[in-house]
Symmetry: C2
DNA sequence: GCGAGTAGGTCCAGTTTTCAAACTCGCTGG
DNA sequence: CCAGCGAGTTTGAAAACTGGACCTACTCGC
């Protein structure tokens, strides 16, 4: 690949950026853990799904654990790193709900009773991160914007 | 494409899920607005970049506005819908910073003075959305997990 | 006026991915 | 014995991506 700006967004996309990877994670978060069920729900070709699962396991996002000996059968579970991708899926879902659908196909109820509308806040001050409120700082000045 | 679960995540990926689309948005958020500069920074082939920009404009995420007549020159600006994708990029970046890099290549200072560590909270109760705290509800029972 | 440079693309041929369907392997249940 | 399931692998054709060359329309320095 050509040279590109060093960036954690690009790095993350190197793990979950290929087609279907995020949808696989969605199924995992819904509790779907078996190859055939994931294939059905995401609509991916089986060879592509096999490749994505391998990649996600290799990257430490999923774990491949046997649930049956003879014949050997495996299921896929999220690791802690996998769990920590949940915010990414929630923000993707929130945007789609707002701009692409009339009726959200899936909603989440939060513990507090409300339907979850995820909001991204600054971990320090707990206020919402608004467009103008951020100043980037580049570690490598060669790539400063 | 095969049938797949109806889902706002998939819908959103239909807009920004192709290779380079998210990196284009990253550049836009850094304030980079011109074709050549975006091409350099994301490392995409120029024809692919042209296709991505067309798609993002068509989807209402970016606007193509002239900044020069004779010769006609255009720049790309985020719409409100585009701005609202910022949380997606922030959560992607946060995950990469945590799991894939030692030194974050880019950090953001928030208005409050702190380095931003984005946290996703429930819009209603303002508490962090934790793994076990969500219950999915499916509009179409055929696709319930 | 002439060549070089800039900006925003398009076009091309070669490589890589993706696709849908068919097939394999090891079992289980009737 | 035969059918079926689960988890993949194989196959051959279609689609997407790749890096680079090229095109158009200017502007600048000489």
């Amino acid at each position: 690949m050509k040279t590109q700006r060093p960036c954690s967004i690009a790095a993350t996309l190197g793990v979950i950026g290929e087609k279907y990877s995020v949808l696989v994670l969605r199924e995992i978060f819904f509790g779907v853990r078996r190859f055939d069920a994931i294939a059905r729900n995401v609509g991916a070709p089986r060879d592509v799904l096999a490749a994505r699962l391998r990649r996600l396991v290799e990257a430490g996002v999923l774990e491949r654990v046997p649930y049956n000996e003879r014949p050997q059968r495996f299921e896929y579970r999220p690791t802690q790193a996998g769990q920590d991708l949940r915010p990414v899926l929630l923000t993707l879902m929130a945007w789609g709900d707002r701009y692409l659908t009339q009726v959200p196909p899936v909603t989440f109820a939060h513990d507090c009773g409300a339907r979850v509308e995820p909001v991204v806040v600054c971990g320090a001050c707990r206020r919402e991160v608004l467009p103008g409120s951020l100043t980037p700082h580049f570690t490598d000045p060669e790539w400063a914007a």
